[in-house]
Subunit: 316 residues, 3 copies
């Protein structure tokens, strides 16, 4: 998409250097072919260091845009980013892609749907009612139980099992809101990557990234009815018990254990080998590894036990 | 259905005026062609003012039944209402209705199912495994991702997106319980209405009304794994984050924001522009608009923060 | 499977009496044709009284193995049990079983899938996108709404209704973890049994047992988005409101009422007629029947109300 067209759509007078924009990304990740945006002046440093080809910004941040990037100055950069994100969204299915390819020994139910461009490995079983989207890649020895849905462009490693009615790659929950309280969808043009040896329960939902990938690393175990938000990164062998969840962009180290109904706020980092008791509510980054937590607000598990004793006394 | 037949089914000696009863409704909403019921003497005023054609009541409430209505006096009105509700339930599908009608430019997967009587607008995409029930009306520019289920009689506006494995119009959780502890289903003969420009995540469930409609107004945004109970009304542009929910008959104003895992009890009213932090538990009506809450029991968000400080001191 | 083969797979020098092992079970339930295991020396008494044909144990527990059983002594019995469980797992579908049998008056959608060996009773309705696994038995007057998934070997009684996108019989969340933090799946070779007159909401998940059965007794009512863990037993007429759940092996008596978002830890026993307010967190066995509880940690409901008053004072 031409930069001049983008400028026109978001209502910017464009007289800079024309260039082709391939996609959108964050200030940190964008390269010269990509469009980025800034909606908050606390990201000044990220703007200055960005390699993006163009940046949607407002008058308060435009001076920070580096010389290599074209500044597209608007009143509400976040809203305009949402507007333009629709133009980078692919079709629901790539009708013109070649038919799905299935490896040796794999069994695909006649009642499953493989969209064009999908690639399935060897000795994989895809049961009735499963939907595999365009360009999805599925490894060897995978089992997809009935009615699993894999949205387009996601990647599923080897020896992955996904139980019935789970969804991989639905849109992350992203939108801009204007002063009238109206919402504008931010198209989620990333994907989900599941590495090898992962098991996911039934009716679990793992959202695709807004840019790049939501990532579950090798050996992760996820129970039923769990929510993993867009752009999360779940470390090797981490475990989510039923009805737990994480908001977007949170990164867990390896072997983190998340109890039932526990949850993480977004944009946190959680050290490896952390354990969270059932219904923990995690709103801060955890830097020290190997500790056990409980409660909401979160506290050391032993402190939580102590607090319960104090509260019990309060009642008497 | 004849009133005399209804009387016979619930074991009432009938010698009043015969009339045709078309359906059931609440005391407030019922008209002369409808049957209503009262199970609690605190609704005396609603009985007196009801325009229902007949009212199932007990000996404690029968005197309040107005002259225009026939009183059907029983020992356990709520149980008998449940018994009779089955007789007003439509078939799972209207086999004799005309085949589904699909508007110009719409793409229906060959693996989707449109029941007889369904009407689909223009430029709508219905993907594999989707089920659209009898008499469902779907607008223009709608996207139903794979395996979405829309129960019969529901209405979906224009520019609505529903993600995979979500269910619109499943039965509300309603039953009567007798003194032996047995349950009797109250058939949920209402529907769900989604207005325009709504997005709903994956594996979310929105129950149909027992009578009339569960209503989501224009611009609502619902994340994954959210539960909306029967007869709720969700105001314009309101937002439910993942794993939150509402019990039945709660009414939210516009632009209410509901954090992850937060929940509402039933039969509440919530003022516009209210914000609820993650895991809030709302058990009381909120009259003043524009405030922010947290905790369970619910409190002002600033008070909740103060309480956490006090509790932290308690531990030391 | 021959005992000598099992010994070989888990790396034990075998010179005992050869025997045929049909399946695996717990120390308490196993008979002479079954293999059991012990992973914790606190189960010494269960070992001593076990009727298992063979027991995987370690050096600390091997002396307790009774003379009727062969001790298979390994370093990590739980991990080795997981390894061997894979060998007792049946195929995803029994391709060679006879075609599904459907009783008189039943209506099966052409878009539903009945695996070989399934048996469906009379006047049952199976809607589009439903999957019924091998050897599943379904009674009379059952309604399975679209996209319900019933895994192989489960049993559904008469007059059961299951709403859209729910899953019956997905694998319980079971795995062993070694000292490197890696996980090994424990195959869930049991099933789910639903007795008569049960209703289950949409997007609810009920896991199959690791051995034997997860059991829902007559008259149970389960709302949407509820999780029932493997090997649970839910008493007659018990009620789970939306987004509640139970971890594995918990047993509820009859007419237990579980509020929205409430949850049980595993391996508990809960007395009949117990009531749990919304969001209760139950971590201890409840012996006295007929009481009402709230909070997490759980307390008598009246005490919980009192605690809220005390906390309110704390803030002032």
């Amino acid at each position: 998409m031409k930069l001049s067209e983008i400028a026109k759509i978001i209502g910017v007078d464009f007289n800079g250097e024309e260039r082709e924009i391939s996609s959108m990304s964050t200030l940190k990740d964008a390269d010269a072919t990509q469009l980025s945006f800034v909606s908050n002046s606390k990201y000044i440093k990220d703007i200055q260091e960005s390699h993006a080809g163009a940046i949607i910004c407002d008058s308060a941040t435009q001076d920070a845009v580096p010389s290599g990037a074209t500044a597209l100055v608007v009143d509400n950069p976040y809203w305009k980013m949402a507007v333009i994100s629709a133009y980078f969204a692919p079709a629901l299915e790539d009708i013109d892609s070649p038919k799905a390819v299935v490896g040796e020994g794999s069994v695909i139910s006649p009642n499953a749907t493989l969209a064009n461009g999908a690639i399935v490995g060897k000795n994989t079983q895809i049961m009735a009612g499963v939907y595999v989207g365009s360009n999805v890649e599925i490894g060897d020895n995978v089992t997809l139980y009935p009615n699993v849905v894999i949205y387009r462009d996601c990647k599923i490693g080897n020896s992955v099992t996904i139980h019935a009615n789970s969804t991989i790659g639905s849109d992350g929950f992203g939108f801009a809101t204007n002063q009238l309280g109206e919402h504008k969808k931010i198209y989620q043009n990333g994907n989900v990557i599941l590495e090898d040896d992962i098991e996911i329960g039934s009716s679990t939902t793992i959202d695709r990234a807004v840019f790049k990938s939501t990532l579950l690393k090798k050996g992760v175990r996820i129970d039923n009815l769990v929510q993993i938000g867009h752009n999360c990164e779940i470390g090797e062998y981490s475990v989510f018990v039923a009805q737990s969840g994480s908001a977007g962009s949170t990164k867990l180290g390896r072997n983190v254990v998340v109890g039932g109904q526990a949850a993480f706020a977004g944009h946190l980092e959680v050290a490896a080998f952390s354990t969270f008791a059932a219904r923990s509510g995690v709103t801060k980054t955890i830097k020290e590894s190997g500790k056990t937590f409980a409660g909401f607000p979160l506290m050391d598990h032993r402190v939580w036990l102590k607090l319960q004793v104090k509260l019990a006394r309060l009642i008497k």
